[in-house]
Symmetry: C2
Subunit: 434 residues, 2 copies
Amino acid sequence: MSAYDDSAPGLSRRRFLGAASSLAVAAGVIGTGGAAAAESLAKPHAAARTMSGVEPFYGVHQGGIVTAQQTHSLFAALDLEATARADVIALLKRWTVAANRLSRGETAQPLAVPKDAAPLDGGSAEGLRPARLTVTFGFGPGLFISDGKDRYGLASRRPDALVDLPKFNGDQLVAEKCGGDLSIQVCADDPQVAFHALRELLALADGVASIKWMQSGFASPPAAGGTGRNLMGFKDGTNNPATHSSDAMNKVVWAGDEGGWMKEGSYVVVRRIRIALEHWDKTELGFQEEVVGRDKANGAPLGKTHEFDPLDLNAEDKDGNPVIPANAHARLSSAAENDGAQILRRAYSYNDGVGFYAERWPPWRQGIMLDAGLFFVAYQRDPRTGFIKINKKLATEDIMNQFTTHVGSAIFACPPGVSEGSFIGATLFEGLAG
Amino acid sequence: MSAYDDSAPGLSRRRFLGAASSLAVAAGVIGTGGAAAAESLAKPHAAARTMSGVEPFYGVHQGGIVTAQQTHSLFAALDLEATARADVIALLKRWTVAANRLSRGETAQPLAVPKDAAPLDGGSAEGLRPARLTVTFGFGPGLFISDGKDRYGLASRRPDALVDLPKFNGDQLVAEKCGGDLSIQVCADDPQVAFHALRELLALADGVASIKWMQSGFASPPAAGGTGRNLMGFKDGTNNPATHSSDAMNKVVWAGDEGGWMKEGSYVVVRRIRIALEHWDKTELGFQEEVVGRDKANGAPLGKTHEFDPLDLNAEDKDGNPVIPANAHARLSSAAENDGAQILRRAYSYNDGVGFYAERWPPWRQGIMLDAGLFFVAYQRDPRTGFIKINKKLATEDIMNQFTTHVGSAIFACPPGVSEGSFIGATLFEGLAG
């Protein structure tokens, strides 16, 4: 009846709004009877699991971490307003059901509504593809303790690894772009699908948690495959551990037995890094390559030929200078310079137009500069031996700091994946009274 | 040599950075000789014109107006700083060459540089597809007269149709999101390709014009084709004139003989319309449909069955009420209610996160609400009988105003298309001295 009902089976998302409305119109049915009938039409198809563009929500690990990177990301941090642990658990249960549905290309909630009630799904992704949507949830320090208060009786469960990030040299953090008690990252190959999902998840948090900040980002895959580029024009992520290697992921990304309820989860650190693009673009090519430590065109380490050639940190030129400068980003962020520390980077470029920093500029520059750069996202088994270890060195020594400013920052514990019938973060609450 | 040189011919954009660098490395050539040789490698291929994903830049009309809508848009307004007309013309010539190259998937500028100079293209779209990129340029009122000053001797050439937009009822315009002397809209099926193009064009304006504001947007096509949805969850653009009909476009979109140098150009009005999504999402479905005047699921006018059924503005229900309410958006924006006025809408949804309005909110709401909505873009032959005519009615009567706030606004004269060897806006300067 509706246009999107004519789409190829399995390709279009969210047939429900159309099905429900058409039914209501055709049968003249208003009310719960019609809603229940419509619901049966909207039930998940057995084929949905394997249909093109669907990333499974349920699993040992959460999606969106080792998932092949989607082209669009929305990262939202929320502040908790709930006064009772039960309200937090109820929210996590609602989110679990909705995230699974959304990843399958369905509406956020299963029930239809009559014309005299607000729709349970706003419908802005009706007819669009599932677009490999993933939803990744995280718990910030504030879930466990906030302003010294143990609001939900969870303080004793705070993972040791979920530390408060230290201040790093050069940080210029803006409070409204930092922290949060909960996080939701939605990634998808379609920005409208991603925004729809996040909006519906926010609506489900009404009265329990509200959004504090949100960052959108994009990452475009090269036509020929391989590593994408960031806004500096350099390949970004060459040095990542192999996501297809469970050994590497168990070592670098997933919490092990030491994690307790966090086992098979991971810790995410995000940093909103503004890049002075106007400055960078006027910098000579050779210096750009010395800053990064790599060839701009093919990503090879300086002195090498191919992108994935190992860095030779000992190589010297004829004057005895290191081929990869002492303050180059690739050197300082390498495992060899950080006692073996590694992280899984899954960064997105961002472009927020102009004006965010207007109040910080002199009048003659107000509104002129671009607010664009890198939304750095890194997963690791333990931030103390991951991001914090590496960034402590970078913050003080990396010559790239000439061009970058960290203005947003947050850390979250991303719990293990969910099995059907359970809910996200369930292990956190196991054995607690109430 | 570089990773993206291995891509399928014709599919990957901007092979130049790689070609130039590889050459310089291989031959040990540094300087203009190497640059010139590299340039010959980067020359446009004859096949490029017809290659997948390339929208032609040259033509009778500018691209990006009747072009099938791309998924991503960046709209930027610039303020002119130039003191001489010749500098403006030189900029337009640089932009013309660059826009043509960018649409073909090439770098913004044709010349390579040695390692000791800044790259002429930042390289952030290296290896990406052309992505149907279009660049649409516009001239704001300030090009012709600014603060009463005729800076460039163009005041007499200001088109009658390029009026200053009147204040509309309910406008809550923010100065930093309004106006501009020049506009660049970049549309593409890839956000990174779009951002790269805009950034390179801005760099080419250095010292002549600088960015005042920028708005990004997205529009996702339904899997089954047809009309896409906006963030209200309704199909958006059903009532548009047919872009494939040159009769309709000549009537509605393109300036005719009355336009003088603007003949075959068009006038664009943009409005940044914030939607109170949290409010809208709590509104009952039946009321949402009365606000729009259409069925939410399939887009049919109220009382009709199919999306493209004509509105029956005279239909009444059994109680004598109009089926399409007197204050419904579809009724008030219809040609029938506006003496036949029509516009070509090419809107994008936007999501700018939270916080833009923070300074306007009471403390207890700061940072909470989403700054998302519709970046309204409308093309027309004459704004006085197009957008202004229609919006005057909408601004006072449309019940949708309960949920929408116009916070940004601008108007530009988009000159006719360019033929090879000429430059954008050339007709404006014909016959002028100097």
